[in-house]
């Protein structure tokens, strides 16, 4: 099921009323020109599953929070916002969940260059060994 990002809360609520009471996972895929967020829902009584897909622009993507409907969305949303740089509306900015650095670029975005040196890793003072000094 593909929906627009404004309809997210209403359609998730609708699905929940239909019996899809279990949120399996929230994830996203970066297709470089657009992002796709996917909500996996499940009906625990009969095992039926539903995927809600939301297309998002690559620049400044914004998603509404569904934490009011599913408590399970808590950490999934934080992971999503951190890994894909998606702004989750209606949630206070909290510390980063998984990363231990600035987290300004979403590491799971395709534009994120793997293995880019990080500033703070560089030693502040260049270390010169004593024997090297002597050699000069």
């Amino acid at each position: 099921m593909k929906i627009k990002s404004e309809e997210l809360i209403s359609s998730v609520e609708q699905k929940r009323k239909e019996g899809y009471t279990y949120l399996v996972k929230i994830t996203a895929v970066d297709y470089t020109d657009r992002l796709e967020a996917i909500y996996f829902l499940r009906n625990l009584d009969n095992g039926k599953e539903e995927e809600i897909r939301v297309d998002l622009p690559a620049k400044n993507p914004k998603l509404a929070s569904i934490m009011g409907i599913f408590m399970a969305a808590d950490w999934y949303e934080r992971e999503l916002s951190e890994m894909f740089d998606i702004e989750i509306l209606g949630r206070k900015a909290k510390r980063l969940l998984l990363e231990k650095w600035d987290g300004k670029e979403g590491p799971l975005r395709k534009s994120f260059v793997w293995g880019k040196p990080y500033k703070s890793i560089e030693a502040p003072v260049k270390f010169v060994a004593k024997w090297e000094e002597g050699a000069k």
Partner: protein
């Protein structure tokens, strides 16, 4: 009374990994717990995108180092689904045997460490480790590795079972059956254990579903939902599998579910070995350039020892374009924000033990 904040971890013997908990206390009553995770974040999902399909299984095993074979199988099954490769019948039986042995080993490790966290009953810890090692010996014989196996290949296995494996396994299963009964008797006649586990960290059925917990934690709250029976894979349908669940929703219920799952797994292994057909079980040798993927995106789910594991893969030629992993420990650990509230500080670790987290699985 003023609230106190204390910091537990990241390196603490009872967190079994690197988990930091910031507890806000009123006296010694827990008001709020803030779990800090991510100390073991390796970026598995990003790393997989840079590799060919069959370069990743050995790395997948390290996601959950207590049950590596289960993750190995989950990943290879995802690739099989994407490439459209069927699994040979004997290989399906062998996989079920190995997965269930892995589940027994994982639950035994949990039992030992959890009992140790709860009442310092260290002898149970040593017994469980000894018994787990017997199971690991069997897996070592079957796969060649003691901790990390990498035994799954596309369509089958790396090694078939050795002749005489079934007889040796029956002996171990008989021994384990008695041992698990002994553990149960010993543990449940221990008043310290019973008093500390009952009515602790209670999660109602509705809460459990809303919080999205999985595995024994979900089944401990009265939800009879197991991937093995809800979406049967391999030969679970032919093996008369019965999922185990309890209704109390407290720490004791979660313990009971795991104990019953060990018994059920023992039965499943025996039954699978008896019904196992002769034939070829070997899979394709690892070639970096494999067949082209048939599906653009696949979702595969499995019942891992810690709960439901799910992989969602978008394929792109010879590499995954995106692999999203639903780790059971991740969502179970999130409940730590709610479960210990209102309990005393010393009850925090029994609750943490009862949800059975592996930190490498949480952080990925």
């Amino acid at each position: 009374m003023a609230l106190t904040k204390i910091n537990i971890g990241p390196v603490h013997p009872s967190t079994h990994g690197v988990l930091r908990l910031v507890a806000t206390l009123d006296g010694d009553t827990v008001k709020e717990i803030e779990p800090h995770i991510g100390f073991l974040h390796r970026g598995v999902e990003k790393l997989v995108e840079t590799r060919m399909y069959m370069q990743s299984p050995s790395y997948m095993e390290k996601i959950d180092y207590v049950a590596p074979l289960s993750y190995d199988e989950l990943y290879v099954a995802t690739v099989e689904a994407a490439l459209g490769i069927p699994v040979k019948e004997r290989a399906q039986y062998v996989r079920v045997v190995q997965l269930e042995l892995q589940r027994i080993a994982s639950h035994l490790l949990w039992l030992g460490t959890a009992i140790n966290d709860i009442g310092q009953l260290f002898s149970v810890f040593m017994w469980c480790f000894k018994d787990r090692d017997i199971v690991l010996k069997l897996l070592e014989e079957a796969t060649g590795g003691r901790m990390f196996y990498v035994n799954m290949r596309l369509g089958g296995l790396n090694r078939d079972l050795m002749p005489g494996f079934a007889d040796r396994t029956y002996k171990v299963l008989d021994y384990l059956k008695n041992r698990v009964g002994e553990y149960e008797e010993y543990i449940e006649s221990n008043p310290i254990f019973m008093e500390r586990m009952k009515k602790l960290g209670v999660m109602s059925r509705e809460e459990a579903i809303n919080m999205g917990v999985t595995g024994p934690v979900l089944r401990g709250s009265g939800v009879d939902f197991d991937i093995r029976s809800a979406y049967p894979y391999y030969v679970y349908e032919k093996l008369h599998f019965r999922s185990q669940f309890e209704t109390a929703g407290d720490c004791f219920a979660r313990y009971k579910v795991r104990i019953n799952e060990i018994k059920e797994s023992i039965r499943l292994v025996g039954e699978a070995l008896k019904k196992m057909p002769e034939g070829d079980a070997l899979g394709m040798p690892i070639k970096l350039i494999g067949p082209a993927p048939k599906e653009k995106e696949v979702t595969v789910k499995r019942e891992l020892p810690r709960g439901e594991g799910m992989m969602y893969m978008v394929t792109d030629g010879q590499r995954p374009y995106r692999l999203s992993i639903r780790a059971p420990s991740f969502i179970n650990t999130a409940t730590l924000q709610h479960l210990p509230n209102g309990h005393r500080l010393q009850d925090l670790f029994p609750i943490l033990a009862s949800i059975d987290t592996v930190m490498a699985d949480v952080d990925r």
